[in-house]
């Protein structure tokens, strides 16, 4: 075991896979010589060679298309899109090509491409470096969508993504690259070295895709969250003094319905939390699924806490961010409803 922050854990996952499997290649803007703008690929080109870790032109559509071609030719490409906000030029290649290749060719062709991309706000990124577009991708059948909330899961899930035969869009909440973040920007940052999930095996291990995790057991309500918001939810539970169960969804698609709904059926109350905008967000899918499965166990309307339905504003980041206060208020609302 070693102490790792999330960037180091991701780096370790790619390092392990480059060493284990000659088919693995990394490609993306600035990922090679420089090691990536967030340092996730630092040292990998030096260690594994410039044919395995490729710097690319600034063309997200080209990066994803090239990765598809490489995947169809027997490689296991891991493409980095520098910010999730920049993924849209490659959206057609994901939706119409990557996600459909296996289906439209009835299994004759497939491209096991993993697309890593940093998402989320809280880093003064304004509206072009803060978005959380997971709902856009979770809506597309034929890809898996993953978002880890800690270094251990980040490494284990990334290795699962690379080893799998299906395409994966792997969102990395960049606000928690260096430490868990509880939604209070003015408090001193806490590092991953003091968090139990900052302890990560140095070698190969996997965390299965498609499984949610109960990160805090509780009896009075269930919070469904993922990414950065898992840590914000923990702070909100303390603030509201509600014994809430917190579930880290981890995989948006395919969704672990059983873990989520078993918890909500037990607690009878549910708050769904994400950083992305609320309208048509991934939370709507969670709410719909929970009410279908748990309707007769529900004691209160399910609440959603999400980013406002505006672009992410540079100057009002913390007014925009769904912090622990808003989650605590929602917890009060669902637990006090009679």
């Amino acid at each position: 075991m070693a102490r790792m922050n999330m960037v180091q854990a991701l780096n370790s996952a790619m390092d392990v896979m480059l060493a284990r499997d000659p088919r693995v290649v990394i490609l993306g803007e600035d990922v090679g010589y420089f090691g990536g703008v967030f340092r996730a690929t630092e040292g990998l080109q030096r260690k594994h060679g410039e044919h395995r870790v490729l710097d690319t032109p600034i063309a997200e559509g080209g990066i994803i298309a090239a990765a598809i071609g490489m995947g169809a030719n027997g490689l296991k490409p891991v493409a980095e899109i520098q910010f999730a906000d920049y993924i849209y030029p490659g959206f057609d290649q994901v939706v119409s090509e990557l996600a459909r290749l296996r289906y439209r060719s009835a299994g004759d062709f497939s491209a096991p491409v993993t697309i890593r991309t940093p998402c989320g706000g809280g880093i003064r990124g304004g509206q072009t470096h803060s978005q959380s577009p997971e709902a856009l991708f979770a809506h597309v059948c034929g890809i898996k969508v993953v978002m880890p909330s800690n270094p251990y899961d980040a490494k284990g899930l990334l290795i699962s993504s690379i080893e799998g035969d299906d395409p994966v869009v792997f969102f990395e909440p960049k606000r928690i690259y260096n430490g868990p973040f509880d939604g209070e920007p003015h408090k001193p940052a806490s590092p991953w070295s003091t968090h139990p999930r900052g302890e990560v095996p140095e070698g190969h291990f996997t965390v299965p895709i498609g499984r949610a995790e109960i990160v805090r057991e509780g009896s009075e309500a269930t919070i469904l969250a993922y990414g950065t918001m898992v840590h914000v939810a923990e702070a909100a539970v303390k603030m509201a003094r509600v014994d809430a169960e917190i579930i880290d969804v981890r995989t948006m698609a395919p969704l672990d319905v059983d873990t989520l709904c078993t918890s909500v059926c037990k607690t009878g109350r549910c708050v769904v939390v994400h950083e992305a905008t609320r309208f048509g967000g991934y939370g709507a899918e969670l709410v719909a699924t929970v009410q279908e499965q748990c309707f007769w166990n529900l004691e209160a309307p399910i609440q959603r806490v999400a980013g406002w339905d505006t672009p992410y504003p540079h100057a009002f980041e913390w007014e925009y961010f769904p912090g622990p206060g808003r989650i605590a208020a929602a917890l009060k609302l669902v637990t006090e409803a009679r």
Binding site: V25, H51, R52, L54, T56, P57, A59, G61, G62, A65, A66, A67, I68, G69, M70, G71, A72, N73, G74, L75, P77, P89, D92, Q93, S96, E97, R100, L101, R102, Y103, R104, S105, A106, G107, D108, F109, S110, C141, G142, K144, G164, D165, D166, G210, A253, P254, L255, V257
Partner: protein, 427 residues
């Protein structure tokens, strides 16, 4: 009046009712364009992107340095493949008109592009076609029954009923899956070629798009990535003059040739008479040799003419002169190769008529066989429950649940039995 800007809206030289006019087309005489060494620097051979490589002269003789010197037997095979492609297209068009398939796209007039290129490449080379290169399947020996069953979405459909007609694929034949989106496979072919180079293999990739879809960003991505990594790939731009109703000027062909885009990226651009089987074969062979010797990519512009409608849903008489195809200065690829073989003393009208009859009978027999695997209106049908397969490698729980929902619906007596999905009739 002060000077003002004025929007230029390209307009084709002739519309319905007007005389066809191809005076815009720059044509080099056969045999006149030089053939550079395959490892020549892109900047030294820029003139290839402006001139037009042609081998077959007016007298039907092969001339000049690009003559690939193919044996008569090979030429006869090429003629046979082109003729079979055309007869297959004609038959499928008729079948669509009878309502027996939902949609079709012909390659009439462009057969030399797919057939000559398919023959000039190696069996291990990976092909990423658009929807108008069915000749590639013919060259690689695909059973026509398989293509027909795909168009029928029947029980032998390689796509399991998931794709519109002609969106074929063939893993073992190294022909990639056609998505139906335009130009998306151009940069994927480059990625495939990059992987071949990373693995140190000598297979190359080739891809095809139309001049119309060269306006997509994917074209730029493909050219950039191919140039940057010197990927072993042949990027083919089939300039058939028409993208449904918009002429090639709307894709940017008024000021420069499409081949001239190559040198802009540092890639050789070759403009070839796309209806000259020998010229297409020769430039493909040149580009393939270059790619295999680490010379990197080549952009080939095939100057040809879309003699048929865009698809069975299209009516070209509404936007171009009816007689335009007859006036096309580069003629018919099949007629030209036939005349060349006759000039060589290796073919005759009688042999041609006999071959045509033989191939027609072959197409008929294939169609009869294809129908035994199911038609739109009857016979064996695909199980709709298969629609849940192949979304991911293993079926996820939500799809397993939905499959059971559909199974229950299917098995409920209230729902009419034997309901199978039929495709929307287009055109």
């Amino acid at each position: 009046m002060p000077p003002r800007s004025r929007l230029h809206v390209p307009s084709p030289p002739a519309r319905p009712g007007q005389e066809p006019d191809f005076s815009y087309l720059q044509i080099s005489p056969a045999g006149l364009v030089g053939r550079p060494d395959v490892i020549a620097a892109a900047r030294e051979i820029e003139e290839l992107s402006v001139q037009m490589v042609r081998v077959l002269g007016e007298d039907h003789r092969a001339v000049g340095p690009w003559n690939p010197h193919l044996e008569p037997e090979e030429l006869q095979v090429g003629l046979r493949h082109m003729l079979l492609t055309r007869l297959f297209d004609d038959r499928m068009q008729k079948i669509q008109r009878q309502g027996r398939i939902s949609f079709y796209i012909k390659s009439t007039g462009e057969e030399a592009v797919a057939v000559a290129q398919g023959m000039a490449l190696q069996p291990g080379d990976m092909l990423f076609p658009s929807y108008r290169q069915q000749g590639l399947h013919v060259v690689r020996g695909r059973n026509l029954v398989d293509l027909m069953c795909q168009c029928l979405s029947n029980t032998r459909d390689m796509c399991k009923g998931r794709q519109m007609p002609i969106m074929y694929h063939w893993g073992s034949g190294k022909i990639f899956s056609i998505s139906g989106n335009l130009a998306t496979q151009f940069p994927q072919a480059v990625g495939w070629a990059m992987a071949a180079a990373i693995k140190g293999e000598d297979h190359i990739a080739a891809s095809w798009i139309g001049e119309g879809s060269s306006a997509e960003a994917d074209f730029h991505h493909a050219m950039t990535f191919a140039a940057v990594y010197r990927a072993p790939v042949i990027l083919n731009l089939v300039n058939n003059q028409w993208a449904i109703s918009t002429f090639q000027g709307f894709a940017g062909g008024e000021q420069r040739t499409f081949a001239q885009r190559g040198p802009g990226y540092g890639i050789p651009g070759i403009r070839v008479d796309g209806n000259d089987f020998l010229a297409v074969y020769a430039v493909t062979q040149w580009a393939a040799q270059r790619a295999r010797q680490s010379g990197g990519p080549t952009l080939i512009e095939h100057v040809t003419y879309r003699a048929a409608a865009h698809s069975t849903s299209d009516d070209p008489s509404r936007y171009r002169p009816k007689e335009e195809w007859r006036a096309w200065p580069l003629g018919d690829p099949i007629g030209r190769l036939k005349q060349h073989l006759i000039a060589l003393g290796e073919w005759s009208e009688e042999r041609h008529a006999k071959l045509e009859k033989e191939l027609e009978a072959h197409v008929t027999a294939c169609w009869k066989e294809a129908e035994t695997f199911g038609t739109l209106s009857g016979g064996p049908a695909l199980d709709p429950l298969t629609m849940f397969e192949d979304v991911l490698k293993e079926m996820p729980p939500n799809l397993a649940r939905q499959r059971e929902e559909l199974r229950a619906l299917r098995d409920t007596p209230a729902v009419p039995q034997g309901v199978t999905p039929t495709l929307v009739q287009k055109g």
